[in-house]
């Protein structure tokens, strides 16, 4: 039988070995790390000879024995997982929705994939009737799933906040009627936050995503008000108030970095210094020709920045375990099962985006792309072929993913990234892959350091 795949790396003073197929992760010493370069190809005697004068013979034999043990236990070089013919979401269950309650925005961020909120169309707002229809659609199409997720999104959802409030109340009615647990979240730029909205959000939203880019000058370069002013000073105090009143409930302050701030760890650090503990800062997704786009020439800087930040992150977390960077979080023992890790985000089948008019798209990033309209709340899914395309875009069907060590962590990556890079859902966005691999290595090296 062919040997399974391992991946090894050295980062933050740790030698780490991942067994790709079993998910096992080992911290090893330098000798084991070196021996693994030859294990399986060379005999023990040959390995002893290769390292003559470098490592002690007896130690090499012991280490070799430990490797053998892990191989027998299928925790190193373990065989590929056999999921048979993975049939994903056969019943076409829908369990998450992104509700575009407002295709309008009160900021005009340069990088917005929603074209300043209107997704290349008219500026429109979702009616309460359409919103209710969406929640009904979700409840009725969710089969035996109990936890249903609804994110209020835009544009800027606070521009249609009465509908948001009424839909939360309606969701609570549907919880009882259908025995479901609606989990509401909201993604906001904060401009319209006031005390009432903050209290409502903190009481009713399981999670809230607060959009801000970090340092004032970084934020204000991209996130401009309608009159071309900076938005930072308007928004920061409102986000601070929301987070101070939020207690232990989840939130993320979420920024976007571009090629103008490949030193984005300073933005993460700035968030932390401002009192925000749960932080997500993400690479911009945009066509390469945009002046602020991340291109291959920026990759080395970005990867170095992740590594450098991981060192600082370890230091901060020694004193403050509440500090969380979304992309450095990883739970090796209680993370998702292999099915979830094989099929990814669920866009296009389990997860749908709903426009103000009630049209259905695979996810928020495809809204406005005519070829990706799946159907509507009134008709249900009409473009069933397209749904199948999304369902089949898993790690086993993507050639590059099949041999990538990171496949069970990123689950094949973002469909929208793949589409916008290659017009093909089965060809991953390379730059995104490289960044994701670095983030996984950082995350695991952080865990290894915290394990001491």
């Amino acid at each position: 039988m062919a040997r399974g795949q391992i991946h090894k790396f050295y980062l933050n003073n740790k030698y780490i070995v991942l067994d790709v197929n079993s998910g096992a992760v080992h911290m090893v010493d330098r000798m084991v790390y070196d021996v693994l370069d030859h294990y399986g190809d060379k005999s023990l005697e040959e390995i002893v000879s290769i390292f003559d004068g470098v490592y002690d013979k007896e130690a090499l034999e012991e280490a070799y024995g430990e490797i053998n043990y892990l191989v027998e236990e299928e925790m190193l070089y373990s065989p590929e997982n056999d999921l048979g013919d993975l049939v994903y979401n056969q019943d076409n269950i829908v369990k998450a929705m992104c509700l575009h309650v407002a295709h309008d925005c009160n900021l005009k961020c340069a990088y917005c994939f929603a074209s300043q909120g209107n997704f290349k169309g008219e500026r429109t707002y979702m009616s309460l009737e359409t919103g209710k229809k969406a929640l009904e659609f979700l409840a009725k199409n969710s089969g035996n799933r109990r936890n249903l997720e609804v994110d209020f999104f835009g544009g800027e959802p606070l521009m249609n906040f009465q509908v948001v409030k009424d839909l939360v109340a309606y969701g609570r009615e549907l919880d009882k009627k259908y025995n479901k647990n609606f989990r509401f979240t909201i993604t906001t730029n904060g401009v319209l936050l006031d005390e009432d909205k903050i209290d409502f959000i903190n009481e009713n939203m399981d999670n809230v995503v607060l959009s801000l880019d970090g340092r004032r000058e970084v934020n204000d370069r991209m996130r401009k008000t309608i009159r071309d002013g900076g938005s930072y000073d308007v928004i920061l105090p409102k986000f601070k108030e929301l987070v101070e009143k939020r207690g232990t409930k989840d939130y993320y302050i979420r920024g976007t970095f571009t090629n103008y701030n490949t030193d984005f760890s300073k933005d993460i650090r700035d968030f932390y210094d401002q009192g925000f503990k749960k932080v997500s800062v993400e690479p911009v997704v945009t066509p390469e020709e945009m002046d602020y786009a991340l291109r291959s020439e920026h990759l080395d800087d970005v990867l170095r920045e992740y590594e450098e930040f991981s060192k600082e992150y370890i230091k901060i977390r020694k004193k403050d375990k509440d500090f969380l960077f979304f992309h450095f979080m990883i739970d090796l023992n209680q993370g998702p099962c292999i099915v979830k890790r094989s099929v990814g985000c669920g866009a296009g089948s389990e997860y749908l985006a709903v426009t103000p008019e009630g049209d259905l798209y695979p996810c928020h990033q495809f809204v406005g792309e005519d070829d990706f309209r799946l159907g509507s709340l009134d008709t249900g899914i009409e473009n069933k072929d397209l749904r199948e395309v999304f369902k089949k875009a898993n790690i086993y069907n993507k050639e590059e993913c099949r041999s990538c060590w990171a496949r069970y962590y990123c689950s094949g990556g973002c469909h929208a990234n793949a589409y916008y890079a290659h017009k093909d859902l089965t060809k991953p966005y390379k730059l995104g892959c490289e960044m994701e691999k670095k983030r996984i290595e950082c995350s695991i090296s952080i865990l290894a350091n915290e394990d001491e």
Binding site: S22, G23, A24, V25, M27, V28, D29, E62, A63, E66, Y69, L70, M75, S78, N89, K95, A96, R145, N147, E149, F153, T185, T187, D206, N207, D250, T256, S280, E282, P283, V285, F326, I330, D331, L332, N333, Q334, G335, P336, C337, I338, V339, K340, R341, G344, C345, Y351, Q365, Y408, Y409, C410, S411, G412, A416, N417, G432, R439, S443, I444, A448
Partner: protein, 47 residues
């Protein structure tokens, strides 16, 4: 073991097949990032 410390065992090989693929976990990048897919950092609802 003297030279190897295992941080995590065979977490992708769960014995109880009934406990995989229940679909209750968070879908998509829904409520944290919205622009990329990282599944490894999500939680299993059965834990």
């Amino acid at each position: 073991m003297k030279y190897i410390k295992t941080l995590s065992g065979k977490n992708l090989r769960r014995e109880d097949l009934a406990k995989i693929g229940c679909g209750e976990c968070q879908t998509s990048c829904q409520s944290a990032c919205k622009t990329s897919c990282t599944v490894g950092n999500q939680k299993c609802e059965q834990n």
